[in-house]
Structure formats: C-alpha cells, structure tokens
C-alpha cells in the first residue's frame, strides 16, 4: 500500500553525501564505545567458562576466589531469577549455565574485583567439578539416531513425530506439485551442500558497565544493536521492573546481528547488585568466539529441474541448520529465502532447526539466507553450464517480479530483481575478458527486510535548529541518513540537525538495529516526526496571521500562505517561529510512534572473477561488482559501504572463515589469527551499482540495504571457482586444502 505524501523526485538533501555528524568523534578517538567508560569505584569482572563441550556441573566452589584480596563478589546461576520460561529461560541458561554446561565456553560463574588482573586471577580460583557427557557438534550427526540428546523436551509442536529430540523446530512451505514439475524438466540437478558456522567478527568485543542497587534501580551502558531489548531481557533475568533499568547504548564497534543478543549484561548487573558497586565487564576476544552467537552451520539438499530454454520447472530444498545448544537457528528464513528470486510454479522447501553442543547462534546479516543462496545458486549455475545457457539471461527468464507469487507464500509488490540483473548484464564487468586461470561467477540474493517497533522525537530549538532523538544505534552512518531526511522535511540545513541515539528512558520502545530496518523504519519515523513538527510550525504561523491552519503550507524552511486566498503574508522562517515558541503555545516537538510494516524486500546480483592457484589451492578474488536495489539511496556513499561490507564478509565466509571443532568438542580457532577474516591485501576494490526501484511502503521509497549484500557472494564465488578451476565446491569454506582435495579428485577421475 502506498503511503500518503510519498516523494520520489525533487529532493534537496536526500541523495547527497555530506560528512557524517559523528565523523570527527570517530577519527579523533573521542567517540565512546562499550569499553570506553568508567565509573567512580567501579569493579572489573571476569567470567569462568566451561572447558567441556557437554558436562554436568556437580559442584562450584567459590571460596578460594572469594578469599583473594580485592575480590568483592562471585555470582553463579543462583544469583539470577528463577521460574523463567520460553526464550527468557533459554537466554538465562545461555548467559549462566544451570546444572549442565552445554558447550565449550559456556559461562558457569563470574567474579568482580578491584582490578581486571585480580578478576582474571580469581576466575582461575573458582573450582568447578564437571562430569563430562557425550557431545555432538555436527548438524547431520546431531540428527542421527545415536546422537546424544542436548535437552529433552526442547522441541516445539512444529516437529513431526519420529525425529531426534535435537530437532527442535520444523518448517515446510511451497506450492504446486514438484514431482510433476521435475517430470517436465529436460535436466534435473540434485546436490548436497554444507556450510560451516561463521562469526560476525565485529572488531569491538562485547562490553558493558552496570550499576544496580538494592532498591531494584539500575543503569547500564553497553554496546548493543538494541538497548530496549537489553533492558527487557536484563529486567527479566534479574527479576527487575523494566522501567527501573535505564539502558544507554554506547557507540557500537560493529554488530552484523551478533549484538542483537544479550550475553554479559545480566552478569555485570548481577555482580553490581551483589557488590553494590558499578561493574565493568569486557569480553576477551576468545570468549567472543566461544560464547557469543556465530551463525548456524548447515547441511542442505537442493533439487532443481530446468527445460532446455532455461525455464525452471520445479525446485525443492531441504535445509538443516545447527544453531547451538538452544532452539533458534533460522531454518525458516533459509527455506523461505532459498527460491525467492524465482517465479516458480512448483516449489517446496523444508527446514530443520537442530541443537548441538555449540554456542547459541545469533543473527548474522540476513540470517539464514546466504547459505540457501550458496546451495540454490550453485545448482542454477550447474544447470546453466550443462544446458549451455547464459547465467543472467536464465535468471531473467525466471525472475520474480511484481505480482509473482513468492516461493514462500505472499505475492510480491514492486521489486527490483529484474533491474539488478539488467544492470549486471549491462555492466562492463560482465563482458570483460578473463585471463587464463580465472573464472566468472554470478549469483542473486534475497532478503525480506523488516520494519519493527519504532519511536522518534524531534525537538526544535529556539534558533530553528533541531534535535532528533532516535532509538536505533548507529552501526554504519545512520545518523547521517536521519539528518538528511529531517533536513528534507524541515527545509533547514543538514548541519542544523543534531541526531542522538536516545536511552531507554527517553523514547518509547525501539526494536534493535537489525533487519535492515534503520533507514527504513527510523527513517520513516523521522520523516513523520518532522511532518508533525511542521504541522505545529504551520499552526503557529496561522495563529500569527489569523488564518486557518490548513491555509498555511511549509516551503524551504518557511511557513507560507497556501494560496492567493489565504492572504498575503511574507514567508515566516522556522527561526522566527521557534524564537517565540514559549509565548505562542510552548515547545514544538514532533514525534512518531508506530510499527511500520511496509519494509520492501531487497534483491541483489553479484558478479565476481576469481583465480585459483592449482599449486596452493588459494583462491583470489580479482574483480567484484555488487548490484543491489536500494529503493532510494538516502546517503549513497553509505549505501555503497553496506554493499561493499556485505560482499567482503561473504568473501570471507566463502573462502576462509569457519568454526573448527576438535573431536573433543572444543573450538580450536578462537582468535583472529586462526579465524581469518579478510584483510586489506586479500581483497580487490568492490564496485557498486545502486539500483533504485522505490519501495511503496516508505515515503521516499527506501528499502533496507544492510543485509542483502551478504547473500550472493558465497554462490557467486563458488560459481567463479567452478569456472576457473573446473571443480565445484559444495562445502564452505573453499579453503586451500578443500580446493586441493577437489583438484586431486578431479585428476584421479
């Protein structure tokens, strides 16, 4: 449904690329991130973690730790709320183990002391007696009949009878008759794929500083993608009233979904309550790898039928996601995204959420979608190769468009997949010559995008400048986008708008910065809050002129009579109105609260050239182009940045990154040296094309851009590797040993 007062052309500020409002803070070291704050008398905390993949906790003896000079308090599960159910219970169980340690790195106790060195020493003095239990970390093994059960009774009612208790959720969707569709095909390709768990890899470890008194009132500072969510969960886990805990979001050093979850904040608050002092808790990097949420690992089966002319006749996918020792792996997102780019008569997708002895997975940029795209787009590439079809023409032939019944149910409104494919086809990259040993890969990707609960307030100052308070932490330059949209509506300079990320006591509930929702939802709310302020400004002008409110309109930062019949008055600039706010009715504040539901879905097409070294098995990405629909790019440079960042993370996922567990169920590569994310010398420049097919659900047509960019790279690179080296890798990452093994197998026939 189109919104009233939509605007798609004639922008003054939107689409320009001014410096971000917090730029100077961030290049001078002045910006305060999670670990950059202190409080008088504060203590430092350290967490004691399980060295076992799965073990019963028989006894915890904290006496030696408590006896160490400087130690002020130790907490265990006994210091948290009891009687929790559902997801609150899951989160508490993950934050602090109950009677069983469920994965290597699971928290079992925590210590607060007068220095971080003492806290670390004291953590080593906490004696935990474990009884090791059988463990499982692989998704297929966790579903097998003989797998150890992580927790009986964790499955919900969606799971069909007869499956292993580790299968805790089940999803099935689709339409048509896939068997009939496969019968119509000239070629059917069916393959099995696996992807390993990867970590969001934000450079800033989780950090927080909490106080909590015996009166149940607390303050928390933390790096998070959403502080209202932290407030709600911490209140539940500590048995507090929500409004009595005020949470302030620090600057955030990357999140990518991983900071939508709560890990250490309730622990800091429990220690603060026990010691009656402020407690700072900063996660060591190894703990970030071991005990925050990586993405799910997967095992997938894909079957697609195609006619000789490229028409897809049927598609079927089975997606098994391992999400750690708790329910929640996004099996339905994986299944629903898998075939979304294609208009299919016959499609069926099944998803399994499987528990194992690994950390509780968390969202990672378009959670679940990149893995599905890897499998599906690899099979499409294989079909194109074997039927001698052009990969872009074939995708265009089958592309979803407005009116297509999506593979996951609804009918698409206006979408931009065809436009991204056409732009990719027209891009010089697509027809550029390749050198020997190089191959080119194409892939599409899809993400839903999200709206969510949003509240914004825009207060005018006496000089006609504006203070905009939003509730979505600025992960990648969103203050600039908000200021641009407010400037557009108010008709005042961009520099005259100060954007603040408000704390939980200042605005109504704001959902976390996830789902590519910030520029869409907080942006929509900013526009509406500015329009609310403009309405009030016009009202003040109307009162001054003695004419009806609807006879005043807003132009270029001034109130003006709306037509010749309204009267002849000189334009009244914003500062003239705000200067007299107090005497003409009081402060002028625009606000907007809603749960916008018109987030437009987003598609992308990526082109990548890769070169494989047959001696070492190393793959180099030599050229990369991202084409993605942004709906409307508010600040194009930051849109490009989202495209490039997603592509880079996808390159890491495709080629290097993986959680490596030993036979003992322990994580073997919990540091950046061994969990290798792309470094500057690994990557080429990443070219971008911003396609703009307006989203009918946003006043300016915005679609979220943060997540879709990580969906195509896995498959695009796999397809490029296949073209370059003549071997198709169906397991990620395509690390040098795997490539060498595939080349060896090929040589041996």
């Amino acid at each position: 449904m189109a919104l009233d007062n939509t605007k798609s052309t004639g922008f003054t500020h939107v689409g320009t690329t001014p410096d971000r409002p917090d730029g100077v803070d961030k290049v001078t070291g002045r910006a305060r991130f999670g670990a950059d704050i202190t409080a008088p008398g504060m203590l430092h905390a350290a967490i004691v973690r399980s060295p076992h993949a799965h073990a019963r906790i028989k006894r915890i003896d904290t006496s030696k730790a408590e006896a160490l000079a400087g130690v002020k308090g130790v907490v265990t599960r006994a210091d948290f709320a009891t009687g929790l159910t559902g997801e609150n219970w899951n989160i508490l169980e993950n934050v602090m183990a109950g009677d069983t340690a469920l994965y290597d790195g699971h928290a079992v106790a925590a210590v607060a002391a007068t220095s971080s060195l003492i806290a670390r020493d004291a953590a080593k003095l906490v004696v935990v007696e474990y009884e090791p239990l059988p463990h499982v970390t692989d998704v297929d093994k966790a579903m097998a009949a003989d797998a150890p059960v992580i927790r009986e009774g964790a499955a919900d009612t969606s799971v069909p009878k007869g499956l292993h208790p580790n299968v805790v959720r089940y999803h099935e969707s689709g339409h048509g008759d896939v068997e009939a569709g496969f019968a119509e095909a000239d070629l059917v390709v069916e393959d099995h794929f696996k992807t390993e768990a990867t970590h969001q890899g934000y450079i800033e470890p989780h950090a927080c500083l909490g106080t909590l008194g015996g009166d149940g009132k607390g303050e928390l500072w933390c790096c998070t993608q959403g502080h209202w969510n932290v407030q709600k969960i911490c209140a539940a886990l500590l048995g507090l009233e929500t409004a009595n805990l005020r949470v302030t979001a620090s600057e955030i050093g990357g999140g990518f979904g991983g900071k939508t979850a709560v890990f250490i904040e309730p622990v800091a608050l429990a220690l603060a309550r026990k010691t009656n002092k402020p407690v700072k808790l900063v996660m060591p990097r190894a703990d970030v790898f071991k005990a925050t949420g990586p993405t799910a690992s997967t095992s997938m089966d894909i079957k697609i039928g195609m006619k000789k002319d490229g028409t897809i006749t049927a598609a079927q996918g089975t997606f098994r996601l391992q999400g750690g020792a708790f329910p929640g792996a996004p099996c339905e997102f994986t299944a629903m995204c898998a075939f979304a780019p294609y208009a299919l008569k016959n499609v069926r997708q099944v998803g399994y959420d499987v528990m194992s002895n690994r950390p509780k997975q968390a969202a990672y940029r378009a959670p679940g979608s990149p893995m599905a795209a890897f499998a599906v787009e690899s099979v499409i590439d294989e079909l194109c190769n074997r039927l001698d079809l052009d990969p872009i023409e074939t995708r265009l032939k089958n592309a979803s468009k407005k009116g297509t019944k999506a593979s996951f149910g609804p009918t698409f409104d206006r979408i931009g997949l065809v436009e991204t494919l056409e732009a990719a086809k027209a891009h010089p990259h697509y027809c550029a010559p390749l050198k020997p040993g190089q191959g080119r890969g194409i892939s599409c990707g899809f993400w839903f995008n999200h709206g969510g609960e949003t509240a914004v307030s825009l207060a005018l100052s006496e000089d006609g400048t504006a203070q905009l308070a939003v509730g979505t932490p600025d992960i990648g330059g969103s203050r600039a986008s908000m200021a641009l949209m407010a400037a557009e509506e108010l008709g005042i300079p961009y520099e005259n708008i100060r954007v603040t990320i408000a704390d939980t006591a200042t605005l109504g509930y704001n959902e976390v910065s996830h789902g590519s929702r910030v520029t869409y939802a907080s942006g929509l709310a900013t526009i509406q809050a500015a329009r609310d302020a403009v309405k009030k400004l016009c009202g003040r002008a109307a009162a001054k002129w003695g004419i009806p409110e609807d006879a005043v309109k807003w132009e270029n930062g001034c109130a003006v009579p709306s037509g010749p019949n309204a009267g002849d008055f000189d334009p009244l600039p914003i500062a003239e109105i705000t200067k007299r706010m107090g005497a003409t009715g009081g402060p002028i504040v625009g606000h907007f609260e809603a749960t916008p539901e018109g987030a437009g879905v987003s598609f992308a097409t990526h082109i990548v050239d890769a070169e494989v070294d047959p001696e070492t098995g190393k793959t180099s990405v030599v050229r990369y182009t991202v084409v993605q629909d942004a709906g409307k790019a508010i600040h194009p440079t930051y849109v490009e940045g989202q495209f490039q960042g997603g592509a880079a993370q996808g390159i890491g996922w495709a080629l290097n990154e993986e959680y490596i567990y030993g036979e003992d169920g322990r994580l073997q590569n919990a540091l950046f040296l061994d969990y290798r994310i792309p470094v500057a010398s690994d990557l080429p420049m990443i070219d971008t094309v911003i396609v703009e097919v307006p989203n009918p659900g946003h006043p300016y047509g915005v679609r979220g851009v943060g997540e879709t960019s990580i969906c195509p790279p896995l498959a695009a690179i796999a397809n490029a590797v296949s073209a370059a080296a003549g071997v198709r890798l169906r397991q990620l990452p395509m690390s040098p040993p795997r490539i060498l093994e595939a080349l060896e197998q090929q040589r041996n026939g």
Binding site: T17, D19, R20, D22, G23, V24, D25, K26, V27, T28, G29, R30, A31, R32, F33, A35, D36, T38, S115, S116, L117, Q200, G201, Y202, I203, E204, P205, E251, I252, G253, G254, G255, F256, V282, P284, R285, I475, G476, G477, T637, Y638, E640, G641, Q644, G645, A647, A648, Q649, L671, F672, L673, I677, P678, V679, A680, S681, D682, L683, M685, I686
Partner: protein, 159 residues
C-alpha cells in the same frame, strides 16, 4: 604484586604512571591514563585496533608491556589532529565514508599516518599490505584504500 613506576611521553607530553608488570601499553593508555581512543579488539596482536607508534615505529600496543614504555615516545590517535585542525587523513576518512562503525579507525589512522611518513607515494598494493594487520569488518577496505591513496596524492601536491 608491586607496581612499577614508569615515565614516558605520550603525544609529546611527559606522563608518569604506576603499572603492574603484566599490564600492556594498551592497558596503561586506556585504564591508567584515560586515553580510550586506542581500542582493544583482540589482545593478541591480530587486529591492529590498538596500533600506536613507539619511537616512531608502528606497533600493536597490546603486545608491548607498560614497563617497556620507560623513556620512550608514544603516539596515539589522540595526537593526530592539531588543535581543531584534523589531519588530512582524518578529513578524507570522513569525506569518503572510510569508516562505518569506527572501532578500527583509530588504529588504521595511526597505521596509515606511519605509512605516509615512510612512503609518501605508495601503490594500492603497498597500502593494502601495510594495512593487512588492521582488520576492518565493515567496509571491505575499498573506501579506506581510496581515502589513503587520495590523501597521499593531496599531501604530495601540498608539499
């Protein structure tokens, strides 16, 4: 464990502190001197967020002990701008959106400033390899590399 008295120079100012022998320069800067511009990303020398120069040499401050700073000269991100005037690299990083979250930015600025002092005319490959020890998870490095190359060109023209 008794603390050790250290005298050192940070961004041109002489400072004194007491530190535990186990504390790193990074710990000292952040926790004892209140200079939180230098960031900790890993504590193992793998991410470069804590980059500083020590007597002009680029190092990870998480890999240098606080007591080793005795008599040395430390430079951090807080010393890059001159008063209100940003260094050309800082200006270009803002202009090019060469940062998204900004956590790696202090280390990358310190590292690139050190690069341009050694090599005012680096190739793209040289910039990429010089920065290979500074992880950025947001940008894919594209805009960082462009900002560094163009700042270098501007600075060469200005000199």
């Amino acid at each position: 464990m008794s603390k050790i008295h250290v005298t050192t120079t940070v961004n041109g100012d002489e400072v004194e502190f007491l530190c535990d022998p186990r504390e790193t320069v990074l710990d000292v800067l952040r926790d004892r001197l209140g200079m939180t511009g230098t960031k900790e990303g890993c504590g193992t020398g793998d991410c470069g967020a804590c980059s500083i120069t020590l007597d002009g040499r680029l190092v990870c401050s998480c890999l240098v002990l606080g007591v080793e700073a005795e008599g040395r000269e430390i430079a951090t991100v807080e010393g890059i701008a001159t008063g209100e005037d940003l260094h050309p690299l800082q200006q270009k990083f803002i202009e090019y959106a060469a940062l998204q979250c900004g956590i790696c930015t202090p280390g990358i600025l310190v590292a690139t400033k050190a690069l341009l002092e050694k090599n005012p005319d680096p190739t793209e490959t040289e910039v990429r390899y010089w920065l290979a020890g500074n992880l950025c998870r947001c940008t894919g490095y594209d805009k960082i590399i462009r900002a560094v190359m163009d700042t270098a060109a501007d600075m060469r023209e200005a000199s």
